[in-house]
């Protein structure tokens, strides 16, 4: 029998949970198809399916789903409701399953995350395993193996990220959603520019997120978006060890529009705010990064 093919769009929550999903399904014996890094065709497909006003990240997501059409038996589209009352996500995560289900004629594997109601990755994935014909025991074993593997990698990421704080170079913290900053088409070229400007890059999302989540309260008392909490908590965690902060968000991100504004008003460090939309040319961003780097380098020199 052919292996069951499971498609995973390389966008949005893939950048938080993709590794777990891939590992889980491979442990079960499925074949996993991940859409390629964002490219022009994916963006065009996404634009075709999306409503014009949708945020760039959601448009891209739909492009990745379109790519996977006819390339797999099932496509995985989990939905996130909330982790707890103070750890919610933007409403796109609430809507994503229903949007995909209405726009595409595909078999969708879906589970819901609503932790107060005991709905989480573990329960959701094991149930999906069952629906695909695997036993509960097989599911649990596959999940445990996958989560162990992921934790190793996360620990390693945190170690590397933390070590960079001791670097002698000018250090900047990137505050951005992973699905933007690690996206091949949008974030990665920006990272390259930062490297070219001889900056040490520290990522806000690569710290112990329990710790950063708790620290977020120092900057914002009422913040209830999980991902934003973890990212701004990182500012609080490393603020004495870095030289500047760069905010990168996609147009027109709902939570970022408010949270970043608040944080920038309170921040005592130099910062740069970059908003990206579907733009091929990065020249405008390049100019701004260069001048920001120049300012940091000058400041550094005069302090020595």
């Amino acid at each position: 029998m052919d292996k069951i093919k499971i498609g995973i769009p390389r966008a949005l929550h893939f950048y938080y949970n993709g590794r777990l999903w891939k590992n889980f399904f491979e442990n079960l014996g499925c074949e996993v198809v991940i859409s390629p890094p964002t490219n022009r065709e994916i963006i065009e497909q996404g634009t075709k399916y999306a409503v014009d006003e949708m945020c760039l990240a959601l448009k891209i997501y739909l492009g990745h789903v379109a790519y996977l059409k006819n390339k797999c038996d099932y496509i995985l589209v989990p939905r996130i409701d909330r982790y707890d009352v103070n750890n919610q996500t933007c409403t796109n995560y609430l809507a994503i399953y229903d949007i995909v289900n209405n726009l595409f004629d595909m078999n969708i594997l879906n589970y819901n995350i609503n932790v107060p109601k005991k709905e989480n990755d573990y329960v959701g994935l094991v149930e999906i395993g069952q629906s695909l014909g695997y036993t509960i025991t097989e599911g649990i074993r596959a999940y445990n193996k996958a989560i162990y593997y992921c934790e190793q990698i996360i620990d390693k990421d945190i170690r590397i990220n933390t070590k960079k704080l001791d670097s002698n170079k000018i250090k900047i913290l990137i505050v951005s959603h992973p699905y933007i900053i690690y996206d091949q088409y949008f974030g990665v070229p920006i990272i390259k520019m930062l490297n070219d400007n001889n900056l040490e890059i520290i990522y806000a999302d690569k710290f112990d997120n329990k710790q950063t989540n708790a620290l977020a309260n120092k900057l914002s008392k009422t913040l209830y978006w999980k991902y934003n909490r973890e990212e701004i908590g990182a500012i609080e965690l490393v603020k004495d060890k870095i030289d500047g902060v760069i905010f990168i968000s996609s147009f027109p991100c709902g939570p970022d529009s408010l949270v970043n504004e608040l944080v920038m008003r309170k921040l005592k460090l130099p910062y740069l705010n970059i908003i990206i939309d579907d733009i091929d040319s990065l020249t405008g961003i390049e100019t701004r990064i260069e001048s920001f780097a120049d300012i940091l380098h000058e400041k550094h020199k005069s302090n020595q």
């Binding site: 959601l58 409701d81 009352v85 919610q88 809507a95 209405n102 147009f251 027109p252 608040l262 008003r265």
Partner: protein, 361 residues
């Protein structure tokens, strides 16, 4: 910026939203020992200063309410109330407070809703910020009356909406409604309120109308603030009524406060071929309503929202699909602080022409 706390007098105010300032003002007048400033109406100036101090791609209600706060502070208000949740709205307060503090104003900020949840103990603590000695029993009693007032206002409003396009004497509905609201604001007991409501309910039913049986019917769905604040939707309902159209709209304060919680399951079941989950704010409600309007002989649907309203944007592809399936025309309006009023009127007029032509066919 001037410091507004030279006197010790407490002056409380809150943002404008339709006529709902009446029950809100009623509540605080009876419960808290302070002066209450009737919310300033939104004007072009409000939008201008609101936009000036707001982040670029925040949704429009943020700009409107921030503008109102600044105008109120300039007129010496010193206690500001904000409430909202379900989407970004829940986070408005903290940022607005920070922006206003950065502008140099001195005030107390009271936020009645946190993380989109209603929590009585939390609300009680917030009210203590206004008046530490307020009486809980009294508060509960007046909260009860205020909520009934909202209910009655919305009931009358629904009747007005369905009939105002057909009134014999132009302006008769609005005139009567204003009279009723004035009496509402003066009541002391629930009993009085009920009596006034019943009385006016009869008066409304007696207002002369000439309504054909087969008049054009249009449903309005979309984002709540834009729907409920006429200034934010450029008096859309008034415009529609001038074309002799019967208007159906669901979102009102009574629905949001007392019914919404109960309807989630019902709506999800009703529209189950389209949606499985709630989608944030009123998005899933609007999908279910869209199906209802499409299957109940409505001539058209108007979807309105403020620019960048994420939940409604998420609902749009699904709403579009439903309208296509049932072949019901729909137009979308995305209102921004810079929206051109003439553009809206042109689109509405064309929409009216279209649904009328379809009827004739």
């Amino acid at each position: 910026m001037k410091n507004t706390s030279q006197t010790n007098k407490k002056i409380l105010t809150f943002p404008q939203m339709g006529n709902y300032y009446i029950p809100v003002k009623f509540f605080f007048r009876h419960v808290c020992n302070c002066e209450i400033m009737t919310p300033l109406p939104i004007t072009t100036n409000t939008i201008e200063i609101g936009s000036k101090y707001s982040p670029d791609f925040v949704c429009t209600p943020f700009k409107y309410t921030l503008g109102t706060f600044i105008e109120s502070l300039e007129r010496n208000a010193n206690i500001l109330i904000q409430a909202g949740g379900g989407c970004r709205y829940g986070y408005y307060s903290e940022l607005q407070e920070q922006i206003l503090k950065d502008l140099g104003y001195d005030f107390t900020f009271v936020n009645l809703v946190t993380a989109g949840n209603r929590n009585l103990k939390y609300i009680s603590n917030e009210i203590k910020k206004i008046d530490p000695h307020y009486k809980k029993i009294k508060a509960l009693y007046y909260l009860f009356i205020a909520s009934k007032m909202v209910k009655y206002m919305d009931k009358i409003d629904n009747y007005i909406r369905e009939n105002i396009g057909f009134e014999d004497e132009k302006g008769s509905f609005i005139k009567l409604n204003n009279k009723m609201l004035k009496e509402f604001s003066r009541v002391k007991t629930y009993h009085q309120l009920r009596k006034i409501y019943k009385n006016y309910n009869k008066k409304f039913k007696n207002l002369k109308i000439h309504k054909p049986n087969n008049c054009l019917k249009v449903g309005i769905i979309g984002e709540l603030y834009t729907i409920m604040e006429p200034f934010a939707n450029y008096y859309l309902e008034q415009e529609l009524a001038s074309y002799n159209i019967q208007i159906k709209r669901y979102t009102n304060a009574h629905y949001l406060l007392f019914e919404k919680g109960k309807t989630v399951k019902k709506y999800l079941k009703y529209a189950q071929e389209y949606i499985k989950y709630r989608m944030g704010a009123d998005a899933h409600d609007n999908i279910a309503r869209c199906k209802y309007l499409c299957t109940h002989n409505f001539d058209g649907i108007i979807h309105i929202k403020s620019s960048f309203c994420t939940p409604e944007i998420g609902a749009m592809p699904i709403i579009n699909k439903i309208c296509k399936q049932y072949n019901v025309p729909i137009i979308y309006f995305s209102f921004d602080a810079n929206t051109s009023e003439i553009g809206i009127k042109t689109r509405l007029e064309a929409f009216y022409d279209m649904i009328e032509m379809r009827r004739k066919k």
